[in-house]
Amino acid sequence: MDYFADSCIVINFLEFKNSDEEIKKRCYNYINAHKSDIFICTYVSEEIKNYLRKKEIMQNEVIQKKKNHEYIMGTNREAEILNKKEIFFVEDLYKEMENVPVLDCEKEFEEEIRILRLNFGIFLKKIKELISQQFDTNLANLLRETIEDYADCKVLSIALQIQQNKEIFTFVTADRHFLPNAFDYLTKEPRLASYKFPKFKNLLFEKD
């Protein structure tokens, strides 16, 4: 069987560092076990790239602040892609790194982001397919009545669209917005009756 992976599961896979973080470990093992049967869509790929881009800029903001205490984080032009909420996370990261010497900090960030980008390249090389499919706005809006997060609705819409021309695959995620009962509910939604649904797996709610 094939597996359609969403952004969260791939990011957790990339972020796994032999740590005790259960969900990352679960995603890492799952992707490694099914790698050659996994496919993603370009929307997911763009989301992951956006995640990496933002992460690098957040790290850069912390370095700027460490080098110049007068600097107000989030005011560099390149930081414009970060939203207000994310600036708070940058501040958290800065506090966490406050006592780490700037050179160590730079080294740590550099190593991490370079490997993350490399590993995403390796991931793309090893998976079955990268499908270019635009989401259907009407379908995504319909899904939004059940699933709160619009980005999730777009991804699920793409998965449903792809499913119509493919053998049944598993839509696999690690996203807290994709509740199994919400997915079940969608499969019974009369307005979606003509849709062939994929199987569903959310690693957040799975037990090993």
Partner: protein, 347 residues
């Protein structure tokens, strides 16, 4: 309107059509409005001017617009007659003065940088734009051409003094040094970093390459945050190739250099557009002139990128690289996990 047409000779109409296109490209209806001739007359003479290679037809948004072919400016961008005359005055005096003082002909780069220097020192507000090698006059420098002119600008003596000063104090033996000094005296950070990035590749000096590539990427983001994907893709290839130690392969190094070169031309065309806006060109007409250029350069960059990415992907390892778990790394993860879980990054 008919009465007016009857009084004009074909040559007069053509002259007025060309004059109407001095500032920006127009469609036949707009030309007709400007010169007070009817649409069909304008169409007839515009078509003649196209055949005579004095006007160029561009299909824009499904309809035809007409652009004057200046023949002496980059991308046929319009410049004012007094600007053209002043540039000719500077060129002819600089060519003559350089030959007299140095004993050999001036180089194109020297003439471009000298003109920029005179322009900045005397605040002449000449049409000087940033392009591939930094500031340059919009009027194309062709050293085979005769720039002698009878035109004498009001600050002619000052201009001549500054030409001499540049030759005496700023001239360098190597073109690269002329360019470097010019970048260093400007606020154009991206140009300085680009020079250093190319330097590293040309000298096989990969120490600090990652940091330079990253500076280039972040500075680009800060300068042109509308479309960063092309620069991000080459940054990723440079960073990954450096990490994997594959830059020593001539094929990889040469393809990266070629791609960087194409991407730089794309960025430089955007820099040129930015300069035009600073010079006071109308946004709409500046975009009309520059958009096809930018699109072509972007397409060529993407083609080169595809080639190097193919080589790069082929060399990626089969399995992921393990990120070493460290105490600092743990702290980073703790802070960043909250961000990851919040899904704020999806916005």
């Amino acid at each position: 309107m008919t009465d007016i047409i009857e009084r004009k000779t074909p040559e007069e109409i053509k002259k007025r059509i060309i004059e109407s296109l001095n500032d920006k490209p127009l469609n036949a209806q707009e030309i007709s409005k400007q010169i007070g001739s009817n649409w069909s007359t304008v169409r007839e003479y515009v078509e003649q001017l196209v055949r005579e290679a004095k006007v160029k037809e561009i299909i824009f948004g499904g309809s035809s617009i007409y652009q004057r072919i200046t023949g002496d400016t980059y991308f046929n961008l319009p410049i004012k007659e007094n600007e053209r005359d002043t540039l000719k005055f500077i060129f002819s005096n600089a060519i003559k003065e350089y030959k007299e003082l140095i004993g050999k002909p001036i180089r194109r780069t020297d003439l471009a940088k000298l003109t920029d220097y005179v322009n900045s020192e005397l605040k002449l507000q000449l049409p000087i734009v940033w392009y591939i090698y930094g500031p340059m006059p919009l009027m194309i420098i062709d050293l085979q051409k005769d720039y002698s002119t009878n035109f004498v600008p009001k600050n002619a003596e000052e201009i001549k003094k500054n030409i001499k000063a540049w030759i005496r104090d700023k001239r360098k033996d190597k073109v690269r040094e002329v360019i470097q000094e010019c970048y260093n005296n400007s606020n154009e950070k991206l140009y300085k970093i680009k020079l250093s990035l190319f330097d590293k590749f040309e000298k096989n000096d990969y120490k600090g390459l990652y940091q330079t590539a990253k500076d280039f990427y972040l500075t680009y983001l800060a300068s042109y945050n509308d479309d960063s994907k092309i620069v991000e893709r080459i940054y990723e290839v440079v960073s990954g190739s450096d990490y994997l130690g594959i830059l020593k392969e001539p094929k990889i190094k040469n393809k990266i250099l070629l791609t960087l070169n194409d991407i730089w031309k794309y960025i430089a065309s955007k820099a040129l557009l930015k300069s035009l806006l600073v010079l006071g060109y109308e946004k709409e007409s500046a975009e009309l002139f520059m958009s096809p250029v930018i699109e072509t350069k972007k397409y060529l960059s993407e083609e080169s990128l595809k080639e190097i990415e193919e080589e790069y992907i082929e060399r990626l390892p089969e399995t992921s690289i393990q990120i070493k778990a460290s105490e600092t790394g743990k702290k980073v993860s703790e802070a960043m996990n909250k961000w990851l879980d919040s899904e704020a990054w999806r916005g």
